[in-house]
């Protein structure tokens, strides 16, 4: 009971104190509360759920999804969606591994090359959405199909033979600071950059503005089309970077490695309280959503729940949590 009134008061204050929304958004609070509940439920099943090793391991697994969801969040904040994530991830991973086959220069440029491929996909998306005004759901679907086609032609239909470079493996599995996996550090850096961009730069303001009403943003002098294109390029690049990290984690790329990341990345962003209609949401929420989904998946798999049950629980939990705090207002 008290939490709803708390939320109401926070909501009232939030209008005047934009910086504080991020800390007190009821959706974010609920998401974090759900994480705690999940951990408690898990600890009833097995003590090891509360051990630091397990939690750190989960953070590491979450960081791949976190990197990808960061890009997805940027696009969703605009009121758009990026359905080209699966093959942006796969293209990033495959191209980075492929570049590694071309001697020392290739190895050195493997990571930037993989990310650039994702940026290229993102730019095509961005041109389609921003300049050609094609609904993002359609154009990203089409570029996803094209990227898939290119990768299938490139690999000849077999799983790619190239392996990840040492640098990729180091980024994904190594430890620079003892005890903290590199992947987590990378996610933290990318997250910090995103928070900075969203809250401290005109780019971030423009993103929120466009998400609320692109027409108004345009009239107030923002080059909305460029912002939208940049956002899609960043999303594509981050997806590909997520793919690079995943390839480093598994030490090679695989055909359908990105398929498992599209829906969770959207779910993570939305569960974190970002409105799918755009213009509203905080990065902290996305972090909560990512951890929530990773934990849910992990706990279900530790409990040796068969895939069928996992899917059902996953879907039911998502609907339940959205019904808890993701509902649209009733009045018109």
């Amino acid at each position: 009971m008290s939490e709803t009134t708390l939320g109401g008061i926070m909501g009232g204050i939030a209008g005047r104190m934009p910086k504080f929304i991020r800390r007190a958004d009821p959706a974010v609070l609920t998401a974090f509360a759900c994480i705690v509940i999940l951990l408690l439920l898990g600890s009833l099943y097995s003590r090891s759920f509360l051990s630091p090793e397990y939690l750190l391991q989960q953070l590491k697994v979450a960081s791949f999804l976190g990197v990808i969801a960061t890009g997805m969040m940027l696009v969703i904040l605009l009121g758009q969606i990026d359905l080209s994530v699966p093959w942006s991830v796969a293209a990033g991973a495959m191209m980075a591994c492929a570049a590694a086959a071309y001697g020392p220069v290739g190895i050195a440029l493997a990571i930037p090359f993989g990310v650039l491929c994702g940026v290229a996909i993102g730019i095509v998306n961005g041109i389609g959405v921003a300049y050609l005004r094609i609904p993002s759901m359609i154009i990203t679907l089409a570029t996803n199909a094209v990227a898939q086609g290119l990768m299938v032609v490139y690999t000849g239909g077999f799983s790619p033979q190239d392996v990840a470079t040492a640098a990729m493996r180091y980024l994904a599995t190594g430890f620079t600071i003892p005890g903290v996996p590199n992947a987590v550090i990378i996610w933290a850096l990318i997250g910090a950059a995103m928070v900075f961009a969203l809250t401290r730069t005109s780019f971030g303001r423009a993103v929120y503005g466009i998400g609320n009403r692109e027409r108004a943003a345009y009239l107030s002098g923002i080059d909305t089309r460029r912002i939208v294109m940049v956002a899609f390029a960043v999303s594509g690049g981050l997806s590909a970077f997520g793919g690079v990290l995943l390839a480093g984690y598994a030490s090679k790329a695989a055909q359908s490695m990105g398929d498992a990341y599209l829906l969770p990345s959207i779910a993570a962003v939305v569960l974190g309280g970002t409105s799918i209609l755009g213009g509203r949401g905080s990065y902290l929420g996305t972090v909560a959503g990512v951890i929530l989904i990773t934990l849910l998946q992990s706990i279900l798999s530790v409990m040796q729940m068969p895939e069928a049950g996992r899917q059902i629980i996953y879907g039911v939990v998502m609907v339940a949590m959205l019904l808890l705090y993701g509902r649209a207002p009733a009045s018109r």
Partner: protein, 326 residues
């Protein structure tokens, strides 16, 4: 006097999809080694009809300005279900078919209830329900298998009088008993109105909630009919994640090719059907030209990219830049 002009303006998308399909199919059959024979048409029809049903399902929801990302999973779930239930004697088979269709209706109704009464965004809500439907499909068929009443299957995938593909006739029948009454009913119009401008429709006292609910429910039914036909073609049930997802994505592509506006309120299931048939034909074009099948996904993707970019020509008609931002 000018009636035909209104009709033309209204049906432009559908006619365009029809035109694309005719051209594509002409190229396809002209270059097919066997030529334009009943066999070629039957095979093409059987492949196309599956997507046509799913695309029809997607259309109903898209008309209300929503989107159903679970159609492919309803399709998969009902396929798995039919591989258990649509067997045995005539009576058993009938009950099986009814059960499968009922499941589709329930799936659609669940989607509708969550979106309309739960007030969740259709994209995320149907992603979540899609996961549930796929989980159920996996429960039914952890490994591919099962069987189907082969007499019924052969009857519905064969040919009538040796010429007309039975699946096309079935598609026509479904259009006549589901789509035509829906689009002409009060609730069907409410679905269109809700998609066009929900606020205006609400203010005018249009029963938008019931209209949208009916659209989602019927979408489940149509996806289930698609799943039933998949079982008739393959004789088995399989909970294939990739295939379910592909059908969802292809259905969106087919809907767009068929001139249905993703912003809602515009388009018809007939257009989506031709969009689906055209999309399938495009995918098969490569085979008749003896290309390496490896290139098929790329070719399909590029065609899709070009097709959706054609919509950008509308920008040339824009006189005020503010019209960019709908």
């Amino acid at each position: 006097m000018k009636d035909w002009r209104y009709w033309l303006a209204e049906e432009r998308g559908t006619l365009l999809a029809f035109g694309i399909f005719i051209v594509m199919f002409a190229i396809y059959s002209a270059n097919h080694p066997a030529g334009f024979t009943a066999n070629v048409v039957q095979t093409a029809a059987n492949k196309g009809v599956l997507l046509a049903f799913v695309a029809m399902a997607q259309t109903l929801v898209v008309i209300t300005a929503g989107i159903d990302l679970s159609v492919g999973m309803i399709f998969t779930l009902t396929n798995c279900m039919a591989s258990w239930l649509v067997v045995g004697t005539g009576l058993e088979t009938t009950f099986g078919v009814l059960a499968v269709l009922g499941t589709g209706l329930i799936c659609g109704a669940v989607n509708g209830a969550i979106v309309i009464y739960g007030r969740l965004q259709p994209i995320v809500a149907t992603i979540a329900t899609g996961a549930v439907f796929f989980g159920l499909a996996l429960l039914l068929r952890p490994v591919p298998g099962g069987s189907v009443n082969e007499d019924l299957a052969d009857f519905l995938t064969g040919r009538f009088f040796g010429v007309v593909p039975a699946s096309l006739v079935a598609l026509l029948v479904i259009v006549l008993i589901v789509w035509v009454p829906f689009s002409r009913s009060e609730l069907g119009r409410a679905a269109y109105a809700a998609g066009s401008s929900e606020t205006a429709a609400y203010m005018s006292g249009v029963p938008i909630r019931r209209g949208k609910f009916l659209a989602y429910t019927l979408a489940g039914l149509l996806a289930a009919i698609g799943g039933l036909f998949l079982t008739f073609f393959t004789y088995t049930g399989e909970a294939a994640y990739a295939s379910g997802n592909a059908y969802t994505l292809f259905s969106i592509a087919a809907v767009v090719l068929g001139g249905v506006s993703l912003f809602g309120g515009k388009g018809s299931a007939i257009g989506a059907i031709f969009g689906a048939l055209a999309f399938r034909t495009i995918g098969d074009l490569l085979f008749v030209f003896d290309f390496d099948p490896l290139w098929q996904p790329l070719f399909q993707g590029v065609i899709l990219l070009i097709a959706v970019s054609l919509g950008a020509f509308a920008l040339f008609r824009v006189r005020n830049r503010l019209e960019w931002f709908l």
